[in-house]
Symmetry: C2
Subunit: 227 residues, 2 copies
């Protein structure tokens, strides 16, 4: 069975890809070049796809900078550093990219339809999730309902599309433990919003902080070298 | 009030843009360069946006050819010609682009969020609609529900996003009559799936046939010159 797996090259999506492979899916990995500042992500995605093993890995260029509105795609908005856990959970941060998961899932849906795949896998997480609206279970559930009305399969009624979110109920340390069980090489992954020119993670942005906290709580050493 | 208006440069989306303008919206027109064979569309979209008057017109490149699967984005699938009405209504045609409206609405949603617009306008039509699943009212309604869970506005609860489909219940001739009332210059629009090198419409593909039938039924001459 074919599955389209969204793959950013981060800890979460890499673990999801390994999960899908372990479930027996033939995996089609989908990444996006969306003008993100941390393009080191794309190199990580390619390494991870290669390491886990996929039928095909596509990177789709899509210029979300045209809209602006996020620290991840705009040079004029700073990536926040060294925030406390309290301030991270307060409101939707400036690193939120408008409608990002909606856009990514829509492109995954297009590919799934062409591949006649009934399964899409996305590494959203409702626990340690940085306050993004499009990571919540109620969003994924509404997306699945919509997707089943959007496609040939939905109209012809022969396939019911399922969006898998294997990490949804896990904490970051739970994800790291799952990655270890699935033998994901976490040294290949990249999570930082604001790496240096050589691609080394800053250790201070929300994403690095969540990752480091997860490793601490899992009692595991992060194999990645920080600045 | 700002509205994001999807604009292909065809008869339907051009009429929608004029409708939104007439409703008093400040219009932000959004087009896509998605590897469609009929790129004449993009020139038409620019002419129409200019003629009706918009705050801004963006064309986002997005390579749907990477997935394949449609006569509109693949050189290896022929655009069907001179089909009977019966065969047009039989099943989803090869000109269907997988998940196209889902993808287009997702990008419109991203721009709407940045613009703080609560309104998106799309020219889908449930009557003379060529059998595409993502033109049906139940799809639009499910999309709207999902979109309101996907965004800051949805989480923070201050704005309810609305997807307007002013053409949904109109026949093609009804759309042409509405366009006339709104003084849309239909000579600027382009509907053909398979124009010649100079951009002239073929008159034989499903889209041309639906358009010509609409003009006949409206008792109006199509101002566009066919091959």
């Amino acid at each position: 069975m074919n599955a389209v797996c969204l793959l950013s090259g981060g800890l979460d999506s890499s673990t999801c890809l390994a999960w899908a492979k372990h479930q027996g899916f033939t995996c089609y990995a989908l990444s996006f070049d969306y003008g993100q500042r941390h393009r080191t992500e794309l190199a990580a995605a390619a390494r991870v796809a290669d390491s886990i093993g996929v039928a095909r890995h596509i990177t789709i260029p899509i210029d979300l900078r045209a809209f602006g509105g996020s620290a991840l795609t705009s040079d004029s908005i700073e990536v926040p550093k060294s925030r406390t856990e309290e301030s991270m959970s307060e409101s939707i941060p400036v690193t939120y990219v408008p409608a990002r998961n909606t856009i990514f899932l829509s492109l995954a849906l297009a590919w799934a339809e062409v591949l006649e795949a009934a399964d899409i896998v996305i590494g959203v997480n409702a626990i340690d999730y940085s306050g993004y609206p499009d990571c919540r279970p109620e969003f994924i559930s509404a997306y699945e309902t919509m997707a089943n009305l959007a496609t040939r399969a939905g109209v012809e009624g022969h396939t019911r599309l399922k969006i898998h979110t294997p990490l949804s109920a896990l904490t970051k340390s739970g994800i790291i433990k799952l990655a270890a069980e699935l033998k994901v090489d976490l040294a290949l992954t990249h999570s930082c919003y604001d790496p240096d020119a050589e691609g080394r993670p800053c250790g201070l942005c929300d994403s690095c902080q969540l990752r480091l906290k997860g490793f601490r709580e899992a009692g595991v050493q992060d194999p990645v070298r920080y600045i």
